[in-house]
Symmetry: C2
Subunit: 401 residues, 2 copies
């Protein structure tokens, strides 16, 4: 077993599960009687020698439970990208000097796609310059677009929030007798995973959303109008990705907001849902509105998926175990072994970093406005279960540095 | 005790508690061994003779529990305003004929301000034309702007969602080391109650929102800029009402979206938060974004206030009791008797209908960007407690007609 202490960082956009992974890291390190230092604001903390001793903060188990249910990154985040190196580099040397001063020989980096780039560079630098520090990535992203893993921690909670919100908004839409349309914009610019999860809103009492548009399929103005025309529902609910494009490959969010046509002169820009709202309003003259679910998709810890939180914690712990056994330059992930069970796996980071996994064809129906039963089967287990949330004064209690 | 059966309707914009009131009505009527007919789509159901027998649908107690936790209006809603009458009126006669055919002598109308106008007109018509039907209003509105009651059912759940969402978004904002601003737009065009409730997001670990702007106070561009400049927080969170106006009385949502100045030529319009976002971005050059909480404020049953739901149910039952004892032309409401306890009261509908209660001066701080301790004391009890939600396939289970 590798000797020495641990460092851990969080990076990229926040999720409801990124602190659950941190929780898994802390618990596993403490179980192994090592020290675990949190880098503040991602790799910047390592550059600036800005660490906190997490063992001190979390000697109280109650605090770990709070951490697991606190949204966003407890240690702060950064969007800093390490420069490429060639031989020796000042920034890299500072990081490894700071690690050495705390006897840090293993580091876990919890983050999205960009963060895996950091893991790759740091582990390469360490090997080439014989720094003796091992690096493992623990994924998180609500976008679910990482390769080499069945799904990503953070996605299940976002998917659960999206499905629940869409089911509630559908109720809200259904109260009036007049025909109407509601367009709900969902995150995920290039990968439609989260938009696909809106299909989980359907139940015995509602088949909304009636139309689902993923960025994996172009959506022409004509098709949109045909689809709406053919929709039997009185109060139509449409789930649309923020990154939907038309047949020319132009993002809807880059079309003129009012007309839905190409920008010209004083065109104004807005989100994809607003553009679609205006096209439907103009074409059909029915009451139409749009709703952006916005950042609540990634920070709604009050309604996280327990499956997601538990898995996020497990994969955090697994990252620690992998390092202790000598792995480096790896990214943890999940393999789905049964319906439904996952086991943690590791991949070489070079096979994961800077790649993107989109929704496969087999998950999208031929008509291009829905997902298949296979997609539902894949998605459903990820949103099951609810954590017990500690409340204080009527709102969820969080923990902060 | 008055003889005969009951009718009940829901009207106006949906809330998370309007079905809890319906639940209270149904239970109390069934306890008194009468029939209770639901009018479909508000008073339109009575005009079109479109009723459902709620005793049949809800003979199963489990369904009543589901109803209490289902958002929006189970019976559907309408935005129809009854015409004024003078002597006899065809529409009114149709309503009373349809009531008579089912021996309906008492009717409960669950709704907002406009609905109380319906209660007033129907009870007056009934009295003047000796129809022998009694009418009671049961209030609901997330806006909390009804006079004659300490607060309105539906407000507490919306306030709890707003407070929780703001507290989660504040975590999401706080992860980056760079200065930023996030502007959160909250419902309530003329009354700032719900925006005031954003103050309940504050906790031991966060003092966001740092600036709170209610529609009760004008907000000049200069004041906004001064306030942001004076704000010590690194990641500023601003809660703003959708109905905020500038010193000239112009809604921010009627200002040019990009410049925040008066509309001119090809000006584009957007929500108040977006206008404020653009003013801050332009003035300070910091990362700024805006978030509209939108309809989730009124339909997030998955995170309703138990206090609100229980009170909504109680006031529904109280409406039934008032009718049975012979009251008509009344609206139920709450008196706050202790800290915290409420008792149901009734008001004459003419003292309530078509009036609006805004946030009092004593609830707004002198600097104009916050609420007072008195406001917090008033608001806090309304968001306490969480209902137990029945889940199915990872999302809350609802009931529908």
């Amino acid at each position: 077993m590798i000797e020495g202490n641990f460092a851990v960082a969080q990076s990229g956009g926040p999720t409801a599960a990124i602190n659950a992974s941190l929780c898994g890291v802390i618990c596993e390190v403490l179980r192994n009687d090592r020290k675990v230092y949190g880098m503040i604001n991602g790799v910047k903390g390592a550059i600036d020698n800005n660490f906190v001793d997490l063992g001190e903060i979390f000697d109280d188990k109650q605090n770990l439970k709070l951490l697991k249910n606190t949204p966003a990154a407890f240690l702060g985040s950064c969007r800093y990208r390490l420069p490429d190196f060639n031989g020796k580099s000042d920034i890299y040397e500072r990081i490894f000097d700071n690690f050495a001063s705390k006897n840090i020989t293993m580091a876990v980096y919890i983050g999205g796609n960009d963060s895996m780039d950091t893991v790759m560079k740091l582990s390469e630098y360490s090997e080439k310059n014989k720094k003796g520090v091992l690096f493992a990535g623990v994924p998180k992203t609500i976008d679910n677009d990482l390769v080499g893993t069945d799904h990503t921690p953070g996605f299940g909670s976002a998917a659960k929030f999206v499905a629940s919100a869409v089911s509630e908004i559908a109720r809200d839409c259904a109260v009036y007798a007049d025909r109407s349309a509601t367009v709900i914009e969902i995150m995920g610019r290039n990968a439609g995973w989260l938009t696909a999860a809106s299909a989980l809103a359907r139940s015995a009492t509602s088949n909304a959303p009636h139309l689902i548009y993923l960025p994996e399929r172009p959506l022409s103005r004509e098709k949109l109008i045909e689809d709406v025309k053919g929709c039997a529902a009185r109060n139509i609910v449409i789930a649309v990705s923020e990154g939907i494009k038309n047949e020319k490959g132009t993002y809807y969010s880059n079309l003129d907001c009012n007309s839905g046509h190409d920008k010209f002169g004083h065109a104004q820009l807005c989100g994809s849902a607003k553009v679609i709202e205006n096209i439907i309003k103009e074409t059909f003259g029915i009451k139409t509105r749009s709703v952006e679910l916005n950042v609540l998709q990634r920070c709604s810890s009050h309604f996280a998926s327990l499956t997601d939180l538990d898995e996020a914690e497990m994969v955090g712990a697994f990252g620690v175990k992998s390092l202790l056994s000598g792995s480096t330059g790896v990214v943890a992930g999940f393999e789905r072994v049964r319906d439904y069970e996952v086991k943690p796996i590791i991949n070489n980071v070079s096979k994961v970093a800077n790649l993107e996994k989109t929704v496969p064809d087999s998950f999208i129906t031929e008509n291009g406005y829905d997902v298949t039963e296979k997609a539902i089967e894949y998605l459903r287990p990820l949103i099951l279960g609810e954590p017990q949330i500690e409340m204080e004064n009527g709102i969820p209690k969080h923990i902060a540095l």
